[in-house]
Amino acid sequence: MAMNDESRPERDDGARVVVDDGAVTARAEAPAATHAAKPAGPNAAGGSVQVPRGHWWWPSALTPWAGRTAQWASRLAGHGGSALPGRVVEVLDPGFLARTLGTLPYGVVLVSGTNGKTTTTRMVALMLEQLGLKVFTNPTGSNFTRGVVSALMGAIDGRRPLDADIAVLELDEAYAVHFVRQIRPRYSLLLNVMRDQLDRFGEIDNTARLLGHVAQATTGTVVLNREDARIARLSEQVPDGTAVRYFGLVNSLRSYFPSDDDMHGTDIRRTAMSGTDVDDGAVDGADDGAASSAMAAFGAGGPGASLSGAPSSLIPGESPRLDVGREAFASTAQPADVTLRRVGDHEAEFLIDGATVGGRVRLEGIYNLFNAAAALTVVRSVLADAGRSVDGGRLMEALAEVTPAFGRGEVIEVQGAPVELLLVKNPMGFRLSLGSFPAPGHDTMIAICDEYADGRDMSWLWDVDFTSLRETGVAMVSGTRAWDMALRLGYDEVKVARTDTDLEESVERFVTANPGVPKHIYCTYTAMLRLRARLARLADVADAGVGR
């Protein structure tokens, strides 16, 4: 199997220390190193960020040129990547990022968290554009500091400042820490912490600590997920003078968007019971209709069927505390700026300023409706600071224009049938995807690789419940760890028609079999890059903006 380092995405290892002349803040935060000791403290709240100086021998006006040359060279070498130019610029001109982004009139919006970064960033950026701002954003997948630098290369020219009002940037949790040492964001949006690639970040409490550094560095408004206890608690770290806004869910929807604590044990049962176990009341004036419409959106089995991981023989009821995972939440409940009130098929209703506004969305997947609440909260903060008042109806119009990002429900047409690419990176994301894209009427393929960017440990597959695929079975399992995936499906009694570690051959066989039948492909990050490259030979595949 041809699977070597070159097929990794341009996620650099972050461990190389930037060549700097005494400015400690330019040091790269190595994700691997974050396991070890607590990450070094952020800049003291209220203090200014130390901007690393350039080298006396390097004329900074040449930086974009150097970056672009590196970009060109790396494309020529066939990598098409964004890590190399970023690295070149970081070494030659460590102050570049802070200098370039520091001049934006509305500052920087930093989006981070485990799940939903890419789509939410896209929503914020596209909505702000719809509402008349000039937005700079980093393309899909380049969610590390050097990816941002590379994206800036394409957007600036010589000494002229970046032609944008605001930057909306997606950053991976560890790189977000590195980033805020160089430039403090005016807004930060912290979505959730869920178990991800544990071999990269260590435990999720550590991931929450990383995001705490982002909260501490934010100068304007920190937007937090009220329903994720680890995120909501970060409000304690927000510096004086910086505002906090929350996005949230009405009570009746909470069981449809489980937090990491809801994945196991007692809370499984609570999730499984949802739909009947709606604890209406208090905070948001929940709507009974929401539960049934959410149920409809999840398809016949309801979310209980797709989200729970318990065997049918699990004996319920021995624990007096069914609600463990929400305990912390209850004590930190805060009024939310935007609350998701009701969900349906490509539609959503939100509570904003006490009024209900609803609209259509083009995004796939019910979880993106909650991400929309997050994006709306940020957009409202930016608009308020800009002194602009925009009513709910206009916000919904802007939201309706947002289309899915690459690999997040992206649809590629192959021989007349839609092939939907669904990126899976962690158990909760996988569960939510399975719940959002019902298998009946589709052929299903799952491709699991174990490169660095995918995560080497296969344990996470065992935290996903695949029983929703029992009815249809899975047509193809592939990727370096195809056999691990096949074993997982075997234990969930899901039939697999074919298991083959040769990803390129498998995807071609899969999409050309059964002409006319729509298809779902669940895939890890490097699996997606590889199968997109193969699909490009058979169909029209948009430029991913991430190489290969």
């Binding site: 544990l198 409490d205 196991h264 044990g265 007096p320 505390r321 440990d457």
Partner: protein
């Protein structure tokens, strides 16, 4: 006897469930069914009533906060667990519960967390995590395939048997003495995730066999042809998955 029951306790699934340790529970229950037994899983969390009958115990890894939350309850149940262990009840503890089944865990900061002392092992917190794919060799179970991810370094007292031995330094219990895991009687402790049991069916079957023999005097699978075939198919897939896993970079 018609589908005899085996009572399986999943220890603290709410707080000790990281690294896919759920896969171990699933593997044991599915295999029990395929052998013609009726698995009954008791999810035991702190404060719950202890099940009347216990044939097999499975425990996983947790975050520091999770370990803190269960510690008090674990001590309330320590006598029960020690008695079950002494009687020969099969148990499998992974990572965090492996450490807490030992004598103590001393954090990097010097804080000492007492364990329940089923294993004659102690653990020292460390700055460096040992992370990666790992193959260990065991007399009892052949090669054990898994993935380790821990910062605690565990040392065995004299006479304590490891679960297996590892080839390279920087892996296993403590990175130094080439041991991995521990076993005393029918109790197994290990750092191996993956999940452990799906790719190591010999260990799963050992736990099942011991549990059935202890309860019913013998391990007597009463399988349909269909169940036998299903089990063979799972084991054939596991064999392929083991081969691939063993060939992957650390």
């Amino acid at each position: 006897m018609e589908h005899p029951v085996i009572d399986v306790v999943s220890l603290y699934p709410h707080d000790m469930n990281i690294y896919g340790d759920w896969g171990n529970v699933l593997t044991v229950t599915r295999r029990l069914s395929l052998y013609g037994y009726t698995p009954r899983v008791h999810a035991y969390n702190q404060g719950d009533a202890w099940p009347d009958h216990v044939d097999l115990i499975l425990g996983g890894g947790g975050q520091d906060t999770g370990q803190g939350r269960i510690a008090e309850d674990l001590f309330l149940r320590a006598d029960t667990l020690r008695k079950l262990a002494a009687e020969g009840t099969p148990m499998l503890t992974i990572c965090g519960l492996y450490q807490l089944f030992g004598e103590y865990f001393e954090t990097v900061a010097g804080e000492r967390i007492e364990g329940i002392g089923i294993f004659g092992v102690y653990t020292q917190g460390h700055d460096v995590r040992m992370i990666g794919n790992l193959v260990e060799h065991s007399d009892r179970f052949g090669d054990i395939i898994g993935y380790e991810n821990h910062s605690g370094q565990t040392f065995l007292r004299d006479g304590v048997r490891p679960l297996g031995v590892v080839d390279r330094e920087g892996t296993g219990n403590n990175g130094k003495d080439h041991t991995e895991g521990a076993q005393v009687g029918n109790v197994i402790g290990t750092y191996m995730h993956g999940s452990l049991l799906p790719k190591n069916p010999r260990i799963a079957d050992h736990l099942i066999r011991t549990a059935a023999t202890r309860r019913y005097g013998e391990f007597h699978p009463d399988q349909t042809e269909e169940q036998r075939t299903a089990l063979e198919r799972l084991d054939a897939i596991a064999e392929q998955a083991r081969e691939v896993a063993a060939s992957r970079p650390r």
